[in-house]
Symmetry: C2
Subunit: 460 residues, 2 copies
């Protein structure tokens, strides 16, 4: 099946590196510094055949003969065995990697955007030529996560993957939680410290996490999920008041990428998967709640294995390069012995559940008139839309008078049981039309993540 | 290299299961329940060829035709492709697995004791015949750990692995910490709840953790470490007073398996590895400190990847079976495509550092006479043996008088900087001989695990 065939020990494995920024530079450094150890582990030395960059004069640290601006020509060379891509983005990466795979060259890439948009095309090209396609570095940096999902748990049935997979937003939310700062101040600090880019949109709007959710859901559930399938909300709308409200429930707010297997329903709904990214209220007692700063962590639940968590650095040159090198060693070993890595499988072909049909719990903050009958009319709207209330709590204003006289304003927090997103949206719309409701301040999702939810009731 | 050659899709993979207790029973259940999914992932169905048990009448749930008491004959059958061993212990497991590997049959085993004592012989037999040898289930149950060490981090340089790898002792220490109970009471509770066996020695004396340390050190450092190389202390000697003393330092006590790469010294000492198991004081702020009850967690540090942690259920039928099935899928995929998994490598051949030369920090509790000059004479003994003191604290008795008159007893706690085990042992021996020292109550090791140690000073 593999056109490359066993090469036996000793013949060097020749690598074309596409891109030489923060991650690529670390890949070059580690290849040099660990050359002897890598050769011992692989059974053959690894050599750089060439490095494709945009501006060769910016890389005086590399031998001139290695540098080229013509990535396509580098990939086409017959002395190249493996292509390592760390340029990112859809094009030219897609064209280059497809070319490499079609010619039987194995590919190691950190390109989450490309994999989330068009991973299927790459996987098919790899399958057709018998080449390997590895991308551990695309999700959660140095944390070994994709290989465990794809291999270690291959004999189990994964039911949920929920993770903090974006360090920038986790840094911002951690800073807001620690200091009580607002979003804008925390973002400014993150930018100053280099955790956020000048244009932070890919991070704070959740797109980066959504790409990773697509990759995780595809591997975990043996199906195809693309970035476009992932419901995505970022953290721009999270306020200091939201963080404080979560803290009052002994909870915290994290931007989560959640991938779930949703069982088929009694009315013949098919089994489906849900993939979504949003800021969620989670209990402080959950292991993910303690993951602060720029760290990443992914919580996995499987039927037999139970609950697992993987924790580590999700970004940065050296950690990401560690993941790239791990993949490169695997690909190189396969070349030496003539095998190939386990394919990813998408046999399950599960439909992606539309967000409107996904059930979560909600934390709704309302500004209401502090007068008689308000609670009854609000509770009535929830009931009419089929959203069951778990707890109500008034903050500010007096006690909610059931038949009193006052007409001040109060804040009301409603925590619901699980309800479909569409039902909650309809409830919020109806609430906004109520005379007694001055405004819906915030709607946050609550994720119990398999933990007890008793803490999410009404505290004293 | 692989005598089995590609089999192509469709031909069933036939499995001989040795042992059908808690784990084996779950393996059978998962093979049945997930038959279709496993077949889709592997590219061929997996079938049980036979199950070797001691008492067939105890297994009415299995078809009679599958059961046998003759494990050797089962392994020898030509229609068996893979042998899954969950009987444990050295013999007859070793003889059976060697026979299987020699005949080219791949092996999946959960047998930590055998791997820690004689893993090299098994690995050589696998290498010689081109068979696969996988044993994810042997350490930390369901937690994907060995594959990440062996593959994901194969392009990095692991410097330390430190883990809670025994659920029984972690349950006992957690219970002591939560309730203030003594060791005997906590052990009794663990036994009553089924977390400890009637004879708890393998767990509480650290032997189980030592086997796992040997396996982890071998994989992490590409060298051979056996159980006999692992310095091993259990938790029988840990008292409620020790737990309280740790708590006073904002620390907790965990039984850790620690594997470290020790750099070569300036006097030409070679690079070496250290593998050891003992109850250690660790800061409460460390992620491992929050791992309570029967859970396992392993903290890994690598040069490029930085700090990683893996967390999950370390024992139990279903979690362990999940790890076995993951390995079985990998082996089966290799059979289908004709490849084989990455070999473990022991090219590094690093010497194991004797415990006397291993440097850690210490927490020493002494009963001393509460009179003038005591601290000076004690500090003098530490200094003479080359052990530097980081902090001293008196608990009980009055203040330590430097030149007073009282002659009561006091407890003195000394926390040291890093010092070789032999130097500390010599210090303790010298202290015991001092007139002013009534007794050395306890000596516990302090592990900072890469975290700040400022919390380990003298609290107010």
């Amino acid at each position: 099946m593999n056109g490359n065939g066993p090469r036996g020990n000793g013949t060097p494995i020749r690598v074309a590196l596409l891109g030489c920024g923060t991650v690529g530079g670390e890949v070059v450094r580690l290849l040099n510094e660990q050359a002897d150890e890598l050769a011992a582990r692989i059974g053959a030395p690894v050599e750089l055949a060439g490095v494709a960059v945009r501006r060769p004069h910016k890389h005086p640290e590399l031998p001139e003969g290695l540098l080229t601006t013509d990535a396509a020509a580098l990939i086409g060379r017959t002395d190249v065995d493996v292509v390592v891509e760390v340029i990112g983005g859809i094009e030219p990466a897609r064209t280059l990697l497809l070319e490499a795979l079609k010619s039987g060259k194995s590919v190691v890439t950190a390109n989450k955007m490309l994999l989330a948009e068009d991973g299927a095309t790459l996987a098919e090209a790899a399958d057709a030529s018998g080449a390997d396609l590895y991308y551990e570095a695309s999700v959660a940096g140095a944390i070994p996560l994709l290989r465990p999902l794809r291999e270690s748990l291959a004999g189990d049935r994964i039911t949920r993957v929920a993770g903090i997979v974006n360090g920038t937003t986790n840094f911002i939310l951690s800073a807001m939680t620690a200091s009580g700062a607002g979003y804008a101040d925390a973002l400014e600090e993150a930018t100053r410290l280099g955790y956020a880019e000048a244009d932070p949109s890919a991070d704070v709007d959740g797109y980066d996490a959504a790409s990773k959710a697509a990759i995780l859901a595809s591997l975990a559930f043996h199906t195809r999920v693309t970035a476009a399938d992932v419901h995505c909300e970022g953290i721009r709308g999270v306020t200091a008041a939201d963080i404080a409200a979560a803290a009052a429930l002994d909870c915290t707010i994290k931007l989560l990428a959640i991938c779930e297997r949703v069982p088929g329903g009694p009315q013949g709904d098919p089994e489906s998967v849900s993939a979504r990214v949003y800021p969620a209220i989670i209990p402080r007692s959950h292991p993910l709640a303690a993951v602060d700063g720029a760290f990443n962590a992914v919580f996995v639940e499987a039927e037999a294995a139970g609950q697992l968590m993987f924790y580590g650095q999700g970004a940065g040159g050296a950690p990401t390069a560690s993941a790239v090198l791990g993949d490169l060693v695997a690909v190189a070993r396969n070349l030496v012995v003539g095998g190939r890595g386990p394919r990813e499988s998408s046999y399950a072909s599960l439909p992606v559940r539309p967000m409107g049909a996904v059930s979560t719990r909600y934390h709704v903050s309302l500004e209401v008139a502090d007068r008689a009958g308000v609670l009854a009319s609000i509770a009535g709207e929830f009931a009419r839309k089929g959203v069951s209330i778990a707890a109500v709590r008034q903050t500010g204003g007096g006690q909610i008078p059931l038949n009193g006289e006052s007409e001040d304003e109060a804040r009301l927090v409603v925590v619901t049981h699980g309800a479909p997103d569409a039902a909650l949206a309809a409830t919020v719309e109806a609430l906004s039309g109520l005379d007694a409701v001055r405004g819906v301040d915030s709607v946050l999702r609550v994720e119990d993540l398999g933990r007890s939810v008793s803490a999410l009731g009404v505290p004293g």
